[in-house]
Symmetry: C2
Subunit: 297 residues, 2 copies
């Protein structure tokens, strides 16, 4: 079983072609649903009493919700705008709401999870929460600019406490104060994580383990509709694949990255969560096959 | 046999760690020397009477110089500075000198070349020169921002006259006025080229042919010393590999891109041309082997 801890949000996403208001989003929502195609996934997250029933129904269709809390108040809200190239996102507004006072707890039934994904939460909260699990075989975390800028030391401490870090290229540079991505990864490995996965958006990703570097391309797409949640879907697919295999072997971690690339490509093809909600196991395997054909030479 | 037409320059390269003054450079120098590891390569280029004997000796060691002209005046000079990340180059000065009045001619002994590479010259000159060859099987051109900004229609005409275009991602976007690289490539294929190769620096490249997209990663390097000439070395390796195989089969073009990635990685490892001058066939094959091991999953 896999546990995902992170945010469930009501997102307002402004793309050049369409504005979506208060749609279901959040790092843990994308990561959890992406992972659920591979393994049973439990979600630890909080929403407010304003959280729509229809979104609750979507979550319960894909995820175990024993760790999901409805708390008095409003749901976490995020509002962001993409530029016309869809490559740069500007944050217009972040309302923490119930997320600001949430005290996450691991339900007893999740404590035996061998695989745990800590989405871009407060790094101190992540470091505390990971200790509540009894038998973690593989833990992975993400982080974002906000935490790097406000709690860099806590981010570094969190990296010591997990097996793997999955992080954007720009954020890896910001965190490590290095320009070269190999140097970034080495620094994070020195801080204590064994595996580093640097996500590069349309340029794919780099996986690092000891002296091994495994670069992989993204699945090429002509029509990108909404990049929201692509990185979270990537991470969820990775850890979901590994949890299903109950493996932390390097060759399986490499394969999990390929699944990450493919699930990221589904995420960006439609608005919001629709890319993930419209895929299925057969489409995923077909795209893995296409991916392998694409890169073969 | 392969013919390369383009610039031979005296470069001043300013990197954060070192300034090189009046060193041997130019698109055709890098492309030609890179290609020469695979096939006999003839160079069509011009220098001035100030061109140092030691640089002439380097060129003659690697290249056939029947098309190489020493003209009265000064050699073409380029002066550029890299930022501290080595990812952005600013042009400080360009002195065309003898390049401004050069009337390139194809020596009779080159006219039977089946493979021709037109480096980033004046697109009208490229379009004229390619007609002087008797039996071209595969022609490839590059272009740069300067020509796109000043002679866009001539660039488009040139693309109609060649088999393949190799171009940087930013220049592809500028030329086609598209954001998505697949859309960029489709537009250039509509203009008449059969193969499009979009170079993405540290992120590798994308090859396009009909409905096929072949993305490939760059060879990962921790210490990049000087990116000058990497793209030219990439292109030279591609067409040199193909000329050696006398092939324009898609699977060989894919392989040529891998050789392009590898030769680009040698180019950036040392200052100026030194990366290319310090490699050899054995090192190239070793790195191809490392590359294949690196991407395997």
């Amino acid at each position: 079983m896999l546990t995902v801890f992170g945010s469930t949000a009501l997102d307002t996403i402004r793309t050049p072609t369409k504005v979506l208001k208060d749609v279901l989003g959040g790092a843990a929502t994308f990561a959890g649903i992406s992972a659920s195609f591979f393994v049973d996934t439990g979600l630890i997250a909080v929403v407010g009493t304003d959280f729509p029933k229809k979104y609750h129904n979507i979550l319960s269709k894909y995820l175990d919700l024993q760790g999901f809390v409805v708390q008095k108040g409003k749901t976490f809200r995020y509002d962001g705008s993409y530029d016309k190239t869809l490559s740069t996102r500007t944050t217009n507004k972040t309302e923490l709401n119930v997320l600001g006072t949430f005290k996450p707890k691991v339900p007893d039934s999740y404590k035996k999870s061998e695989f745990v994904y800590l989405a871009n939460n407060d790094p101190d909260q992540n470091s505390l929460l990971i200790r509540e699990f009894d038998n973690v075989k593989f833990s992975m975390c993400d982080t974002i600019e906000f935490w790097i800028s406000t709690k860099r030391n806590s981010v570094i401490k969190m990296i010591k406490n997990v097996d793997a870090v999955v992080i954007n290229d720009e954020e890896a540079k910001l965190l490590t104060k290095e320009h070269n991505l190999i140097k970034c990864a080495k620094k994070m490995m020195n801080w204590g994580a064994k595996y580093i996965i640097i996500k590069k958006g349309e340029h794919g990703s780099l996986l690092f383990f000891e002296d091994v570097i495994f670069p992989s391309v993204a699945f090429s797409l002509e029509d990108i509709i909404d990049p929201t949640g692509a990185g979270d879907s990537f991470a969820g697919a990775m850890i979901g694949y590994l949890a299903n295999k109950k493996s932390t072997r390097l060759d399986d971690i490499k394969k999990s990255v390929i699944y990450g690339n493919v699930m990221g490509s589904f995420a960006v093809e439609r608005f919001g969560l629709d890319g993930l909600l419209n895929t299925n196991k057969k489409k995923i395997e077909n795209r893995i096959h296409q991916y392998q054909k694409m890169i073969d030479f």
